[in-house]
């Protein structure tokens, strides 16, 4: 009988735990509590500290207190969507190009147009593609927080071990393949010259596709060129690299970043938002950045601007339409997107600014590590906006899974499989676009 009591007690504990978990979830994200504090939600823990510091500057000017909370990417959108349907949203939060259109069309975001006019904010100072992401029907719903570019990250120790010259800014994708091949052959069995996961899209294979002259979604968002001759040539290059790169099975378990930091991979491509993770890593002395390779399309042995392409994207600072304190939220957003705050954001090394011309502050933020590859590409290459349609989720995940590129990724030795995958992906994207109408 004593044991029954034990069971009952255990079940009670479990029940209380459940209720506590439910309660905790809902109270976390309340729209501005009575004290008037502003809640900010973001998804990148690397940036929390810097953003909190910038927000504290705003608070010091006689404004309410700001609380920055981090929720990882997948849960962030689940939570935001639940908030948008049920009404409980953080006051100020990040918007992303994949989701912006749907949120803007459904009156979830606070319309900032009036505030911008009243306070005389010059929208022309930002990167135009990024400003455009957060505008709908002539209204502005978010201001550009930052922009990002992609570069090649390499591990000098592994290059030395294999006796290969370090990557330069003149590398083509062919050069990268040759180097990866040699490193894979000359190092330990579980160490590879290169790694790429299907889900490394913005920071990975998207850049190849555009450098080879194709696109994922055209600028009018009506079609894709992934199944064109150029698109297939780009994916053929990806396939070749995969034959000498880390197998997909390993990459999907450990992730390219962990593999790189463990010294199992010599090269990966990475976005500027991840610099801090590698800057603070244990073996950061071995790490260095080079510009993303280019594709010598016209065969003149030189890199023209359109032959080096880097995907770029920018987050937007948005506020909830139903925030209890719209004036403060709008004022905070204007502050965060002002030149001063963006310079500070760059100086702190949080991210590159949403305003052009602050590159140097960012490049200097990482003492002892040369990150100019991210800023030089803006002059030597072309920036293309991260491809997306109204509801990109419908094609984006399937494209990276069984229905899309994954089978070809698993069996890189089979060239025909990659060609079929390009056709399948093109169909996925076209079907998704057709359904959006």
């Amino acid at each position: 009988m004593k044991f029954k009591k034990f069971v009952v007690a255990m079940l009670c504990v479990a029940m209380v735990g459940m209720f506590a978990a439910c309660g905790g979830g809902s109270s976390d994200s309340g729209s501005g509590d009575a004290s008037g504090a502003i809640t900010i939600n973001i998804w990148d823990a690397n940036q929390q500290e810097g953003i909190q510091e910038i927000c504290n500057d705003w608070t010091a000017q006689g404004n309410p207190e700001v609380k920055v909370e981090v929720i990882d990417w997948d849960n962030y959108w689940t939570l935001l969507e639940a908030g948008a349907s049920g009404g409980e949203l953080p006051d100020v939060f990040w918007m992303h190009s994949d989701y912006a259109q749907i949120y803007m069309e459904n009156d979830v975001l606070l319309d900032l147009t009036e505030y911008i006019e009243k306070d005389g904010i010059d929208l022309g100072q930002y990167y135009p593609d990024i400003t455009a992401i957060y505008q709908s029907d002539g209204k502005t719903y978010a201001l550009p927080k930052d922009h990002d570019t992609i570069a090649l990250l390499y591990n000098k120790a592994l290059f030395d071990e294999a006796g290969v010259d370090y990557p330069t800014d003149d590398w083509t994708y062919e050069d990268m393949y040759e180097a990866a091949k040699t490193i894979t052959e000359k190092t330990a069995d579980d160490t590879y010259g290169f790694a790429l996961n299907t889900s490394n899209d913005q920071d990975g294979w998207y850049n190849y596709v555009y450098a080879y002259g194709a696109n994922i979604v055209n600028t009018e968002k009506t079609d894709t060129a992934i199944d064109s001759a150029e698109g297939k040539a780009a994916m053929e290059m990806v396939r070749k690299l995969l034959t000498v790169g880390t197998p997909q099975a390993v990459v999907s378990e450990s992730g390219t970043d962990s593999l790189f930091q463990s010294g199992k991979v010599a090269m990966i491509t990475q976005g500027s938002w991840m610099i801090n993770a590698f800057y603070t890593a244990e073996n950061h002395d071995d790490y260095a950045w080079a510009q993303i390779p280019y594709c010598d399309r016209n065969g003149d042995g030189q890199c023209q601007k359109e032959e080096r392409q880097t995907c770029y994207n920018g987050l937007g600072w948005a506020a909830a339409a139903n925030t209890k304190n719209p004036d403060a939220a709008a004022s905070l957003i204007e502050y965060l997107c002002s030149k001063d705050a963006q310079v500070k954001q760059a100086q702190l090394g949080v991210t590159m600014a949403g305003i052009p011309g602050i590159s140097d502050e960012f490049a200097n933020a990482f003492e002892g590590m040369d990150v100019s590859a991210f800023t030089k590409v803006e002059e030597d290459g072309t920036l293309f906006a991260r491809p997306g349609t109204r509801n990109s989720g419908v094609w984006k995940n399937p494209m990276e899974q069984e229905q899309g590129f994954l089978p070809a990724w698993q069996n890189p030795s089979d060239a025909a499989l990659m060609e079929t995958a390009c056709d399948n992906v093109a169909k996925l994207i076209r079907d998704a676009i057709a359904n959006e109408k």
Partner: protein, 297 residues
């Protein structure tokens, strides 16, 4: 036959209090369970708009799409395969442990606690730990075995690996229920059996198993339902680009993918309704089986 008499004032007062006491539960059930359930049925017949606004009725379109989708059918098969591992092994191992831990020995409460611990851990934490144990490059299992096995990325064995986590997580809970069931069995039976010269194994199969059958049935039934609605293990352990995912992902996982990643709530609702009907059928079969296999004294 008694005639219905009007309630006395005292009875009425009691009834009001009775309603007042059950009201919180009833209201909670209606708001949190019944309303969403009915809304899900309705949504499964709709092409849903963004953020639950602007749903349009499309009849059985979502259902015909789901039944024609190899992804959905494969996910039902995956879920059944998971249940086939989790339920029998979870029950048998828990029963054996319960029998051992029901004895009057030193340290039983220590072991009871140890076996119950997985139940107290957050499922997400459990999944993260196992994910690293299974990791092909850096995982403990491959390091100890000096092997290079893709525990969770080889489509042939990934479903078993995930099933093992499920068994490990649930044996403690099943064991606790079995122990309380065992304590209901009067000791006289075992004494009588011992006098008649029955061995321990004979006692187990002829006394323990039949007399424990109500508990076993309860556990099997609730665990089948639990296993068929599994989601967190697959979600936490397997990366989106894992090549084995399509052979492991459960029906609820597919529902999550469509409802939340692709924003297609109507189709997601249809998938989950198919699962509900399937669970209902299994439950009916179980209830029929109860009469044949369960021994109530």
């Amino acid at each position: 036959m008694k005639e219905k008499r009007p309630m006395t004032a005292k009875q009425k007062n009691e009834a009001i209090w009775a309603y007042a006491f059950v009201a919180p539960t009833i209201i909670g059930l209606i708001v949190l369970n019944f309303y969403p359930a009915i809304d899900t049925v309705w949504q499964s017949f709709c092409k849903t708009g963004d953020f639950g606004k602007g749903n349009t009725f499309v009849g059985l379109e979502n259902y015909s799409k789901a039944f024609a989708s190899s992804e959905v059918l494969q996910s039902i098969l995956n879920t059944i395969k998971y249940a086939i591992i989790e339920v029998p092994f979870g029950v048998i191992i828990a029963l054996i442990l319960a029998v051992f831990l029901n004895r009057k020995l030193k340290g039983t409460s220590f072991f009871r606690t140890v076996f119950f611990l997985p139940m107290v851990c957050a499922p997400a934490a459990v999944a993260m730990v196992w994910k690293w144990l299974y990791n092909q490059q850096f995982g403990l299992f491959n390091n100890v075995l000096h092997a290079n096995i893709g525990w969770i990325s080889d489509p042939k064995i990934a479903w078993i690996s995930v099933g093992i986590i499920g068994v490990w997580s649930i044996i403690g809970y099943n064991m606790v229920l079995f122990i309380s069931g065992l304590q209901e069995i009067p000791g006289d039976y075992y004494e009588a059996a011992e006098i008649d010269g029955a061995t321990g194994i004979r006692q187990f199969f002829d006394i323990t198993v039949p007399l424990l059958s109500p508990t076993t049935f309860f556990i099997v039934q609730t665990r089948i339902i639990g296993a068929l609605t599994i989601f967190d293990l697959m979600f936490m352990v397997m990366d989106r680009t894992n090549q084995a995912l399509s052979k492991v992902q459960s029906t609820v996982y597919v529902f999550y993918e469509y409802s939340f990643n692709q924003g297609n709530k109507g189709y997601g609702a249809a998938i989950v309704m198919i699962l509900v009907v399937f669970i209902m059928i299994v439950t009916v079969i179980m209830q029929r089986a109860e009469k044949r296999f369960v021994f109530y004294n």
